[in-house]
């Protein structure tokens, strides 16, 4: 039921393990379980938020969906087409419809190219403009859409502020008229007032251009504001997916509860029950047996240690991987 056929993007049991060579002479190689059997779907026009602490595999998942790295196994379907099977021209054609906005606009913009060249490059690659002048016109139009002044055209990335740079990153993603935008922590490197501006821009563009977002963040406040549904990731696995109001009102998975308890409330007089998660996240090289959260979970009982709980439907259309439910 979770993979209804009208989804724009379907990810099925996606896995990516990175080898780490421990010593030069040891033949056996350890594997980092970066993304370990992740499945979800995104409907057209929806914003799916993806939350998790650093190192849980969020960015790897984003790069897998764009095929910037190849998964070890699993399926990615875009508009019911098998994205992973595509090669050459077919891949380029389908790639146009999925674009990415990176976390750090400083490192995601080529410092030796002017803003106009950066945004114009995708247009040039896919020959979307009949002439040089037409391309410039398209780039200037993109500047307008993301709120950059037209004189940005011949300026270099280092001449812009952090927020403006991220606008350039967004304009580049928009240049190909994509259907899905994967935003990998797009506001995490910005300060709070700029975060709000960029989030508003994302939300404006979505309604104006009929976009679908996979919005990755470690900040639940950001995701609660922008997402229709939120998926919670822990150590390479999705532990809970629910619509944003339901998740905010009543987080089910103990890890989700702990994440919400850690969100600061801007009112010092508020007292609330603190759920502290003991210990550090375990190493993704040797993840715990059973439920990956069980060594840190206050409610863990016998089955949690032996068999991983499946992601199963609970209540109305929400999924949670926990034996408590």
């Amino acid at each position: 039921m979770e993979h209804s056929s009208n989804n724009l993007l379907d990810v099925l049991n996606l896995k990516k393990y990175f080898p780490v060579q421990t010593t030069f002479f040891s033949g056996s190689r350890d594997l980092v379980h970066a993304v370990d059997g992740v499945s979800f779907g995104i409907q057209p026009g929806e914003t799916l938020g993806l939350v998790g602490e650093s190192g849980c595999g969020k960015s790897t998942l984003a790069r897998l969906i764009l095929r910037l790295i190849e998964p070890d196994s699993g399926e990615i379907r875009f508009a019911r087409e098998d994205f992973l099977g595509k090669r050459g021209e077919e891949l380029r054609r389908l790639r146009r419809k999925i674009q990415i906005v990176f976390q750090d606009p400083q490192s995601s913009l080529n410092p030796r190219m002017k803003a106009g060249e950066i945004i114009g490059e995708p247009i040039k690659i896919h020959s979307l403009a009949p002439s040089r002048a037409a391309r410039k016109e398209m780039v200037l139009d993109l500047f307008r859409q993301v709120g950059l002044p037209p004189d940005s055209y011949s300026r270099y990335p280092h001449e812009f502020s952090g927020g403006q740079r991220q606008r350039i990153g967004i304009a580049r993603a928009l240049a190909l008229n994509p259907e899905l935008i994967v935003a990998d922590e797009p506001v995490s490197s910005l300060d709070v007032s700029i975060q709000a501006q960029i989030l508003n821009l994302f939300s404006d563009l979505k309604t104006r251009k009929n976009l679908t977002y996979l919005f990755i963040s470690h900040d639940l406040r950001v995701l609660s504001w922008i997402s229709d549904r939120i998926a919670v990731m822990y150590l390479g696995e999705i532990v809970e997916i629910a619509s944003t109001p339901e998740l905010v009102k009543k987080p089910l998975h103990p890890y989700t509860q702990a994440l919400f308890a850690a969100v600061p409330i801007p009112d010092p007089s508020t007292r609330r029950e603190k759920i502290l998660v003991p210990g550090e996240p375990p190493s993704p090289i040797r993840p715990p047996s059973g439920c990956r959260f069980h060594p840190r979970c206050p409610y863990a009982f016998a089955p949690c240690k032996s068999t991983p709980p499946p992601l199963k439907p609970v209540e109305n259309n929400r999924l949670v991987a926990c034996y408590l439910y």
Partner: protein, 272 residues
């Protein structure tokens, strides 16, 4: 460029090389005598106002021969290092960009080349195909590309994971565009250092070959073969050995200083 002038090492090296380039360029105007003209009445004269650096055992003016010799040294250096850099940039880019088996094969080839003592390989090849300026340039070039290859590969390995490269890939950029437009421009600084360092090395190899008699052939003057003539008369004519030796030393030093200067400027950790 302005920063380069503020760096004392780069400035010193740059002045030496500029001076050398001017000497090579203006050789016909600077030389006081015909470098190939023997003069039986002026054999092995010590430095004087008539012959600034003295004369050799055929009575030729050493100063004029050295001025013309600088042309050979710079030409051999530039062409040889040019060849080495082109090979190195191409192989290094391919190796670092594609990785996997391609990388392994190219890197093992580099290892094999590095195992062979280059100088003796050059000796053997020149002995086989015969000495000429052209042969020397090509042979030095095709035996000294390994350093550049490793350097370019290392730069590519780190640059290809950068987010602006990933973004271009997501936008549909093909491999050649990623390499030429997005990665190579960021690897230019270390390549420039290697190029400058290589120039000093190539000039040194050419001098050594000429000294051994299998480099630039007489009567064409080169610093190396002036040295050879000097060795036969070292007990009576010190100026025949000292001046070409000094010229080689100063030239190589000039290139090393310039390279060190560029390296310092391109390493952000050394910036104050």
């Amino acid at each position: 460029m302005r920063k380069l002038l503020q760096n004392p090492q780069a400035l010193a090296g740059g002045i030496i090389i500029l001076f050398l380039a001017l000497v090579a360029l203006l050789a016909p105007y600077l030389s006081t005598h015909d470098p190939g003209e023997p003069n039986l009445w002026a054999i092995l004269l010590p430095p004087s106002s008539g012959h600034l650096l003295g004369t050799d055992d055929l009575g030729r003016d050493v100063f004029s021969r050295m001025v013309y010799g600088s042309r050979i040294s710079l030409l051999v250096g530039l062409i040889a290092v040019g060849i080495a850099s082109v090979i190195g940039i191409i192989l290094g880019s391919i190796s670092g960009f594609y990785g996997k088996y391609t990388d392994s094969i190219i890197m093992r080839f580099v290892d094999i080349m590095l195992c062979i003592p280059t100088f003796f390989l050059i000796l053997a090849v020149i002995a086989l195909i015969g000495p000429s300026i052209f042969n020397i340039m090509v042979v030095i070039g095709v035996t000294s590309w390994m350093g550049v290859t490793r350097l370019v590969r290392a730069e590519f390995l780190s640059l290809r994971e950068r987010e602006f490269v990933l973004a271009a890939r997501a936008a549909g950029a093909k491999n050649h565009r990623l390499i030429i437009r997005h990665i190579l421009p960021h690897a230019l600084n270390p390549i420039m250092v290697a190029f400058t360092l290589g120039l000093g090395g190539a000039i040194f190899i050419e001098s050594a070959l000429s000294f051994l008699g299998i480099g630039v052939q007489p009567p064409t003057p080169s610093w190396g073969n002036i040295l050879t003539e000097g060795k036969d008369n070292i007990d009576i004519a010190w100026w025949l050995s000292v001046f070409p030796g000094l010229a080689i030393l100063i030239t190589v030093l000039g290139f090393y200083l310039l390279a060190e200067g560029i390296r310092e400027l391109s390493n952000p950790r050394l910036k104050k």
